[in-house]
């Protein structure tokens, strides 16, 4: 396998709040390889966004605090570099797309101006004409119609889908090595989501950027990611090749997530929800953080005392952080055979 573009090791992040210390990220490690899309999936509070924000120096400290971790990128640890160096990495080498483009774009400047600024910051040698030309070219690439005219419009004159296209254009402007998309289509309708995914795929193909896709939407991950990590209570509980994890999950939480989903392509009388609630990150249960909701913990002391490490389970590079992952051998998710059934036509 190629060398990873980004290698994150043992990241731990706390937030100090009035109610106590929130343990948001508790030892997260992953590698990102060139050209791949890594899906990061988890429910609210699982730490999926905080992980990436902390890595990019985007969490305010205080109240946040990075307790440990190392993020190797381009021969340096970006958790240790100075603020101004990190600023040049962000936007140029690592670009980001967020859920709500309205809050990421400045409402008082035109789209063209903001895109131009993003280019200018990193390309001081370019003249104004060149920059305008590049901006129009980028907007065309992401499918903004009449790009020549629309560069002079303000964010509010763009629809949600068009704003997200502009954000993708901005992210691609400097040919980044890594693209981070945090819930890029969550605020959009399904037909607009389909358009944006097409644009994202195209942008990725053109720049060959390695992509981290953060989302709560398992359908989106299945559609876009090559590999996936599943997060729960600030930890990675399962990781591996997308098809392996979605077809043969080896962690009870992943099993439960897939079982919880209503189906588009079949009728079921009842769903199988995960019982209980996600834990408070102020008082994370001892041992395995998932044990209070787990169907494998019955009568097992070790689940309540020892934190299970992320270790190889199942096939290929699949890993699971469950003491009893072997017992899930042979389990197939309810979505494992959809493709085999094929379209009815």
């Amino acid at each position: 396998m190629a060398e990873p573009v980004l290698s994150l090791k043992d990241l731990q992040v706390d937030f100090h709040t009035e109610d106590g210390v929130v343990h948001a990220v508790n030892g997260v490690s992953f590698d990102l390889y060139p050209g791949e899309t890594l899906g990061v999936v988890g429910e609210s509070g699982s730490g999926k966004s905080v992980t990436v924000m902390a890595m990019l120096g985007l969490i305010p400290q205080p109240p946040g605090r990075i307790l440990s971790g190392e993020a190797q990128f381009g021969g340096r640890d970006i958790l240790k570099v100075k603020d101004d160096e990190l600023r040049t990495i962000r936007g140029r080498e690592i670009a980001m797309i967020f859920q709500d483009p309205m809050t990421s774009l400045n409402p008082v400047f035109t789209i063209g101006f903001q895109l131009g600024e993003a280019i200018k910051v990193h390309h001081k040698e370019m003249g104004d004409d060149q920059i305008v030309e590049r901006v129009v070219q980028l907007l065309r690439m992401v499918g903004v119609p009449n790009a020549e005219d629309r560069v002079d419009q303000y964010p509010h004159e763009f629809s949600g889908g068009m704003r997200q296209r502009a954000m993708i254009a901005m992210a691609m402007a400097n040919d980044p090595a890594i693209l981070i998309a945090d819930e890029p289509t969550t605020a959009l309708d399904v037909t607009i989501q389909a358009q944006i995914l097409q644009v994202l795929n195209k942008a990725q193909a053109e720049t060959n950027a390695a992509t981290i896709l953060i989302t709560h939407d398992l359908g989106l991950i299945a559609e876009m990611a090559d590999r996936v990590i599943v997060m729960y209570a600030g930890r990675v509980v399962e990781s591996g090749d997308i098809q392996t994890v979605f077809h043969e999950p080896r962690h009870p939480y992943t099993v439960g997530l897939l079982d919880s989903l209503p189906r588009l392509e079949a009728d079921e009388k009842w769903l199988r929800p995960i019982p209980g609630q996600p834990p408070s990150l102020i008082n994370i249960p001892p041992g395995c953080p998932f044990h209070p909701r787990c169907f494998l913990r019955e009568g097992r002391e070790v689940c309540r005392t020892d934190i299970p490490p992320l270790r190889p389970a199942g096939s290929a590079d699949q890993k699971s952080a469950c003491h009893f992952a072997e017992e899930l051998k042979g389990h197939r998710s309810k979505f494992a055979d959809v493709a085999a059934e094929g379209p009815a036509s």
Binding site: L264, A266, Q277
Partner: protein, 345 residues
């Protein structure tokens, strides 16, 4: 009026909506003169039977929530009639409506905004009983305990405030409040959209159980095609204020005939990575037009790949055309876009 409160037998028609129209005036200038109209709901008709769920699916701004709110008279209709259990309630006064509202209640999307933060859970659930003089001397306290238990909450937590509960638990409180008056029909407006996947499944199962036990009729509004398929018996697809297709869910999902339904279904993600590249995605161009100036003829024609001259000239009626259920397309044609488990046997 006694008839209003007699529980309808399962399968008996309890709601009939005919030609429902809801316009919102657009006002401008010093005198706030009406300069235009938002065509939020335009000529919608359907019926609902006891024990049945009609799912209305559509993207933001299609008028699905406005439609539901107009049906239960939270908004006054511009035209059309709403008949509840044989009584035309379209022009009922507020006082007359109070009696009807015992039988039709609503559960809102946002369990954070829909509950008064200054009231305890017990007070919130008791409020409808008090308003209808059914609390004191009617065993109100016991009734509230039963309701809380019914929706899976511990009655001992009744003295807590909404902020002490998680999103899923708050939605249970909203359901308990809606059930307090033993209604025959519930409007569920995006009831699980704000919830995480594992919690969403718990609430969906709860709604199914309550329907089974009490024979409730549900009018379910959602943008999520998988949630609609799971809960609904019949499905209506809405676009810019109009139903474009309606039928039994199995028919709408497996033999859709309207291009918009086909585009929606083809864009809805299925969490099986093996389907990638195998499913046809119909990606629509452009955005939804403004409901202030909907296109002439068929409202979908500006985004439709089948559009011809006739589509701009004639409004297509919602009648049985190419499939076994009604759709409103001049060029109606069945196209299967969702893989079906049944087809494979």
């Amino acid at each position: 009026m006694s008839d209003l409160h007699t529980r309808a037998a399962r399968g008996e028609e309890i709601l009939k909506v005919e030609g429902l129209v809801k316009y919102f005036p657009i006002r401008a200038g010093l005198l706030k003169r009406e300069v235009g109209r938002i065509h939020a709901v335009d000529d919608v008709s359907f019926t609902l039977r006891a024990g049945e769920t009609l799912g209305v699916v559509g993207e933001s701004g299609c008028g699905k929530s406005t439609m539901a709110r107009t049906v239960i008279r939270l908004l006054d209709p511009t035209a059309g009639t709403v008949t509840f259990k044989g009584t035309d309630i379209t022009n009922y006064s507020r006082r007359q409506l109070r009696d009807v509202r015992r039988e039709m209640q609503i559960v809102f999307q946002d369990p954070y905004a829909a509950l008064n933060p200054r009231m305890t859970v017990r007070e919130i659930v008791a409020e409808p009983l008090r308003i209808h003089d059914l609390y004191d001397n009617h065993g109100g306290r016991k009734k509230v305990d039963e309701l809380l238990e019914r929706v899976g909450l511990n009655p001992e937590h009744g003295n807590r405030f909404p902020h002490e509960f998680s999103g899923g638990q708050r939605q249970r409180i909203g359901v308990a409040r809606a059930l307090a008056l033993e209604p025959q029909m519930l409007v569920l407006d995006e009831p699980v959209s704000a919830l995480d996947v594992s919690i969403q499944a718990q609430v969906i199962n709860l709604l199914a159980k309550l329907q089974e036990d009490f024979g409730l009729a549900y009018l379910l509004i959602s943008h999520d095609l998988s949630v609609i398929r799971h809960i609904a018996d019949r499905v209506a697809v809405m676009y810019l204020g109009k139903f474009v297709e309606i039928g039994n869910k199995k028919d709408v999902y497996s033999v859709p005939a309207h291009p918009y339904t086909q585009a929606l279904l083809s864009a809805a993600p299925i969490p099986d990575p093996a389907l990638r590249g195998k499913r046809e995605h119909i990606v629509l161009t452009g955005d939804v037009p403004s409901p202030a100036a909907p296109p002439s003829g068929c409202r979908f024609r500006t985004r439709c790949w089948k559009a011809q001259d006739i589509c701009a000239e004639q409004v297509p009626d919602l009648v049985v055309r190419a499939s076994n259920h009604p759709d409103a397309c001049h060029f109606s044609e069945v196209q299967t876009v969702v893989p079906t488990a049944e087809a494979a046997g």
